[in-house]
Amino acid sequence: MVFLTNNHPVFAQFQKEEKRIRVSQPSTRGPSAFIPEKEVVQANTVDERTNLLVEEYSTSGRLDNITQVMSLHAQYLESFLRSQFYMLRMDGPLPLPYRHYIAIMAAARHQCSYLINMHVDEFLKTGGIAEWLNGLEYVPQRLKNLNEINKLLAHRPWLITKDHIQKLVKTGENNWSLPELVHAVVLLAHYHALASFVFGSGINPERDPDTSNGFRLISVNNFCVCDLANDNNIENASLSSNFGIVDSLSELEALMERMKRLQEEREDEEASQEEMTTRFEKEQKESLFVVSRAFDDDIVSTSDVSRYIEDPGFGYKDFARRGEDHLPTFRAQDYTWENHGFSLVNRLYSDIGHLLDEKFRMVYNLTYNTMATHEDVDTTMLRRALFNYVHCMFGIRYDDYDYGEVNQLLERSLKVYIKTVTCYPERTTKRMYDSYWRQFKHSEKVHVNLLLMEARMQAELLYALRAITRHLT
């Protein structure tokens, strides 16, 4: 009768209830600074499944803010949690503390204190050596060697060559085996992308006084996105209340109109080859000016975060501005995830391929056939535009895509947001989040964030795996 007492339904129910309350109660602002609390929590109470998923796949055993926000898309959440759990907890070539430390390193590239704090806890819990948390100088050389690839992967993945791989795997005292490296790369890409999601959705820090420990030095307020965001609150409120609604309504109509037109027109509009190439280039060039504000001078990096990284000044540089190097664009058809990436990753780190495959597929195909207030809309075009635009910024080009569509479908404010979230996630503000697609539901904006996150992860993986493939041949 042991199980009856332990798992008595009433009891379990109570536990869940308690868990939920504990998470949401102390924080009056909810899991996200961008999304009103009620949007998320409402969705949560409905969804029993999320709780089950958390029970099964959460490493920390609690419903964290990321999960709460993602639970707006429960289908996706499952594949996300499953793959994350697999990378962190299941059979893999790397020891558990290493995995969390790599996650910390990855998150540190974007100064994502939320993820860092989370994994500092997990790192210690899985038996990591506390000293490592003092910074990169304290970790084994082997982990330190990962720094270079972490840096490139996070900001300019197109620079990764087989030489980087060779340097890591060449035999020696601190060498990485290929399976280990692939595991590390998957973790890095996952946490870079997740940092994008955290900033893009304005995830609030966990309120969890009991886990504070000596190593939790990173002050939560320092980087709290919501503070940044709160400043904009008043301004935004007045903005949207006055003319925003009317304006955005027509915006939405216009977007729908454009989608329809594109769909119909496709056949008769015959763009020449040059035209297509120019469009791709144009899209890239344009993305240069998308973030007009010069951030370069105020690189925020306190020692708290930067101790996990080297060369903190290294950031995204526009692919189009690659200058004299003349790196060729990455032709998507020559190295696709489905054909090449999957096989390699699955070969070296078994089963992760299937999980990632499912996740990419899921996010790409996820649709509710709605757009804001409209129903029964085929959003394939929009999703593809978002996905390809992210890849475009990383220099990945699809032969079979007309980049003119991006221009028509993605308005400027959305492009600003996408560029910020994928390239400099730490600079995302609530104003950016609010300023695009004002008629759309928050869950739809979270959907956008999911797409951006996965597109970014796939882009990073493609570059890294291509380099590994070249190393192998």
Binding site: M1, P9, A12, E270, N339
Partner: protein, 788 residues
């Protein structure tokens, strides 16, 4: 007509000739295709589109189809195909979704003929109809397949797979109207070209994308598919449901598959990633490729047989920017290097061993072995005379049988059941086990137990009950040991019926002889090398003049070795003791020590003991003073001895009984090995409880954790019959307690028994009672529950 063509090539001195050769391309190739006359090949890739003439000694570039200054994406080809009816007609699939046809008959430099821009995404595959001149089919990433009539500007019909991207389309070679399409989600669909509204048939062929498919050129129902899951499968489509008839496991995802002309069971594959080789498989032999071409330095992207009816020339293009012609006689044949062997042990000790015939005969010639118990059967696989490259696959199967008597492992089962391994004092355990062994007339084992007791239960710690059995003779443990060395060993072994074993047993020999004889006659019909093995030779082998034994070796030795092995083990001990000065202050113990040997030794002949008694008494004095550690080495050797003899039961039992006393003497790995062997044996005999007890008592971490694996029990909810995903007993679907008793309708606390068939159950007592009177489920669901 095609047949004709072949005859002319074969007879008119025009047979395909050539050598393995290659040429550099300027850019990586994505696909290649040959002209019908087998004299030209077209190579297409992102930055290349050229036609090469295949000459005797080299490839000669004939035509560059990429004309014009500005590179157009229309030239960036994912696939290319040459019409098999019209030598001037080519089609390419571009990565930007355009399907282009090319007419080589055009006078201008630009041979581009038609442009179809109907697909929205990359076109993965184009395919001409095998007999119809104007019909072209394309399959694209956007999930659509389109059929074009080259006389018209637009597609004639569009087929929607209603699922993900199309990876390959292939017209059936024999069915005029049928084509197959493979999809990224693992499905294969069959379509009728006249019915674009829905597919005729669909089945899931692979886990993950199906990259390619190919219809068998002769067998109309066969379709080979290759997928990302590294498998090549051959489907028989003649039946109502597509039936998988062969499955080849490759080492990397399969990018292309092509049936080999004129060889019914052969197909060539190349892979998408990592592996650069081209393999030719015999689908009936799925584990090892029958031929292998290893020339390419990067992944092979296109393979094609040079001529429709010539199985010896294979062309391939690769990402390493080379175009190769492979000649079959230059292929490496992994089969040649492999030594296929199979070994299987039956439950009752029968052993089957199969090996390549040449291997076995060569071996047996070299090493004749007396006392043979082998019944070899030679057989040959029926060879297809057309397949000259089939490596000769004749093999010898030998079956070693054990004698019916000895095959009954009754003693093992009995011993396992009756041995006591824990729960009592060491002395009692040893006594008990010795008795068990004795009753099963395994004297040696019984003696060992007795000795162990003597060694480890020093008289001081002996339970007083045992003292009562003391005989009071002046015998001591050590002489006793000697005594059984000299005498009991032989009888002990004999009584275990192992000697008889070696005599061999001719059960069913006749049958085997017959079968081999018939096989031989079959063989004689074959005109293959090796089939002319004379029948009398085979028979001679059956009689077993020569033998090479693998496992049998030590079984055989078993009968002879004990006589000298054991003494070796015991004598040094005695010497050691003799060398040591006796301790006079232990005279006191002298009275006690004799008891030790007494109780189990009544039957053991005491005569030798008495004969040795004079010597032994003096040693006894010493013996009792020795720390038990003194014997550790000896006991360790003893355990090793048993284990090597194959009596792992004894080794493990002693290990468990002695526990800490001996454990550190034997390294973990050996222990683990013994445990696993013993547990495996126990489980083969279905002694689940005992094996579980052994697992529980073992101290090896690797073993004890066996019990902690797969401890989950999956239960169905008794109300809604669906699996309970929740922990606990509340079904999360119907929100009812699933553990109610079907008889009394109360919630069961404690033991809950339920039927795996209908998910109903209840209190053990209630269910038992119910099933006494009824065969049906108490819940009234009509299921015939069974309680066993």
């Amino acid at each position: 007509m095609e047949k004709m063509a072949r005859v002319t090539t074969a007879l008119g001195g025009n047979t395909l000739t050539g050598r393995t050769m290659y040429c550099h391309l300027d850019a990586p190739a994505n696909a290649i295709s040959v002209c019908r006359d087998a004299a030209q090949v077209v190579v297409a890739g992102r930055n290349i589109f050229k036609i090469y003439a295949i000459e005797e000694e080299q490839f000669v570039e004939k035509l560059n189809l990429r004309v014009g200054r500005k590179p157009s994406l229309n030239f960036s080809c994912a696939d290319v195909v040459w019409h098999q009816m019209d030598e001037n007609l080519l089609a390419t699939a571009a990565t930007n979704g355009v399907v282009v046809t090319w007419n080589l008959g055009k006078p201008s430099r630009n041979k581009q003929d038609q442009l179809f821009t109907e697909h929205k995404r990359t076109v993965n595959k184009v395919c001409f109809h095998p007999t119809e001149a104007y019909m072209l089919l394309s399959g694209s990433q956007d999930g659509y397949m389109k059929c074009f009539d080259l006389r018209k500007k637009d597609s004639v019909s569009t087929f929607s797979g209603q699922s993900e991207s199309v990876r390959d389309v292939q017209f059936s070679i024999r069915d005029y109207f049928t084509f197959a399409a493979t999809f990224e989600n693992g499905n294969v669909q069959l379509w009728d070209i006249r019915r674009p509204d829905r597919y005729e048939r669909m089945f899931t062929a692979h886990n993950g994308p199906v990259f390619c498919c190919d219809w068998h050129p002769e067998d109309r129902g066969w379709l080979a598919t290759g997928g990302r899951d590294k498998m090549v499968k051959v489907w028989d489509m003649n039946t109502n449901r597509a039936k998988e008839i062969y499955c080849v496991q490759s080492i990397a995802s399969v990018a292309r598959v092509k049936w080999r002309p004129e060889c019914k069971h052969h197909l060539a594959t190349c892979s998408m990633m990592v592996d650069h080789n081209i393999y030719v498989w015999d689908v009936r032999r799925p584990y090892i490729p029958s031929a292998m071409f290893e020339e390419h330095r990067d992944v092979t992207t296109g393979i094609v047989w040079r001529h429709l009816h010539d199985p010896y020339f294979l062309l391939s293009g690769s990402k390493d920017s080379t175009l190769y012609q492979h000649i079959f006689k230059d292929a490496s044949q992994p089969i040649e290097r492999a030594n296929p062997e199979g070994l299987c042990y039956g439950l009752f000790g029968d052993l089957a061993f199969a090996a390549k015939e040449s291997l076995v005969t060569a071996d047996s010639n070299r090493k004749p072995y007396p006392g043979d118990r082998r019944h070899p059967i030679f057989f040959k696989r029926k060879l297809d005379p057309t397949e000259q490259f089939e490596s000769v696959s004749s093999s010898a199967l030998s079956v070693f049988e054990t004698e019916p008597d000895s095959s009954s492992m009754g003693w093992f089962v009995d011993t396992a059941r009756r041995y006591a391994l824990a729960g009592r004092s060491l002395a009692e355990l040893c006594d008990h086990n010795a008795k068990v062994a004795k009753e099963l007339s395994r004297n040696q084992v019984a003696q060992t137990w007795t000795m162990l007791r003597i060694i480890y239960c020093s008289p001081g710690t002996m339970p007083s009950a045992n003292l009562n059995h003391s005989i009071g003779k002046g015998s001591a443990s050590l002489p006793l040991m000697n005594s059984f060395n000299l005498k009991d060993m032989a009888s002990g072994m004999g009584s275990e019926a192992r000697l008889d074993w070696s005599k061999g047993e001719n059960r069913s020999e006749n049958i085997l002889l017959d079968s081999s004889a018939t096989l031989i006659t079959n063989d004689e019909n074959e005109e293959t090398e090796g089939s002319d093995v004379p029948a009398d030779y085979l028979l001679g082998d059956v009689e077993g003049d020569e033998d090479e034994l693998y496992l049998m070796d030590h079984e055989n030795a078993h009968t002879e070795e004990p006589e000298y092995v054991l003494p070796q083990e015991a004598f040094p001990l005695r010497h050691e003791i003799v060398d040591n000065p006796s301790g006079p202050d232990h005279l006191q113990d002298k009275a006690d020590s004799p008891h030790v040997s007494g109780n189990e030794a009544e039957t053991v002949s005491l005569t030798p003991v008495e004969s040795f008694s004079l010597i032994s008494i003096s040693h006894t004095l010493y013996e009792s003073r020795l720390p038990p550690d003194f014997f550790s080495a000896l006991v360790r050797d003893m355990l090793r001895f048993y284990a090597e003899q194959g009596d792992v039961q004894m080794a493990v039992s002693v290990l468990i009984v002695l526990g800490e006393r001996i454990r550190k003497e034997i390294d973990e790995q050996t222990q683990e090995h013994w445990y696993t062997s013993y547990i495996d044996l126990l489980q083969r005999f279905r002694l689940w409880n005992i094996s579980n007890q052994v697992i529980k008592l073992s101290t090896c971490r690797a073993i004890t954790c066996l019990n902690q694996a797969s401890t989950t029990l999956h239960v169905n909810c008794s109300n809604c019959k669906r699996p309970m995903s929740n922990k606990g007993w509340i079904c999360d679907r119907c929100r009812q307690c699933a553990s109610t008793c079907a008889v009394c309708h109360h919630v069961v606390k404690g033991l809950f028994v339920w039927c795996q068939g209908c998910s109903h159950g209840g209190h053990l007592q209630h269910i038992l009672k119910w099933l006494e009177s009824s065969t049906q489920c108490p819940a009234g669901c009509g299921h015939l529950c069974e309680y066993t």
